[in-house]
Symmetry: C2
Subunit: 179 residues, 2 copies
Amino acid sequence: MKEYKLTPQPLTKEAFAPFGDVVEVPDNKEDPSLIMINGGNTERYDSLVNVELEAAGGKPDTHAVINIFRAQPRPVSKELAMDIEMVERHPFGSQSFHPMSGEEYLVLVADCVEEPTPENLHLFIARADQGINYHKNTWHHPVLGLNKVCDFLVVDRKGGGNNCEEFFFGKDVKIQITC
Amino acid sequence: MKEYKLTPQPLTKEAFAPFGDVVEVPDNKEDPSLIMINGGNTERYDSLVNVELEAAGGKPDTHAVINIFRAQPRPVSKELAMDIEMVERHPFGSQSFHPMSGEEYLVLVADCVEEPTPENLHLFIARADQGINYHKNTWHHPVLGLNKVCDFLVVDRKGGGNNCEEFFFGKDVKIQITC
């Protein structure tokens, strides 16, 4: 059996760009997303995510929804490795996660290929003030909360069609992540 | 000049229903929004908001976006009253606010009439773990952060048409809020 061990890199817009968006207040006050509104009372960082919504089969009921995900903490730390068995993707819409519990979390994605291998995986660690948006059809692991039960605000697609595909790596590889 | 003073009521789904949605984890584990996912690792509280998006004039570029609003704290407390001069509404889409800075905030809305009067106003205080979604065309005051600079995640509409109408109460009334 071939074994793989992944440790996370910090989540940055640049490193995450092939997979989606990082939703955070930019460091730079000259960031082009910044628009002043409300008579100067509010800085608006505009369109950090463009929500993708595809109407599978032209179904007219396709729309965006806001959910809350309450995630159990996963058994993973610097010392403790967690086995990874699968990834999933949503072919008809983007999906974004925004931490509400003040905790960092892990983000595991794979390159955009039909059948990802362990070499296609990329592991990031997100700060408590960073949200992420998976572009449509991006392979990713289900939410990986750490340390305690964590709530995430999730902007997702609702509509017809099979919008969740799963891929299992199989028994001939062992993939482990730490953080 | 006629004077009005508003103090907030706690934000609840029931009280806020005429104006929009409260985005929070329900107290009740038998809430119909709850779906278990990710092999039992995650509670999904589903479709707490249905994002409303109207394509004004049938413009095909209408879509949902995610912004961050960084709001200056407003000069309002139990002792300190803030003058209210106007409300605004978005005729072509809903707009939701989700606190990211661990602070409570004020939510000021008005009944769905063409020209609101001070008697139409309703003031709520939201907990740090409560988001709110204004239904399409709901009169509301721009974001009212308290205590410190506060970030809010905002799910909004992007597209053609004039999606922001403002209404000013005029100089013959004085409206003040406290909290």
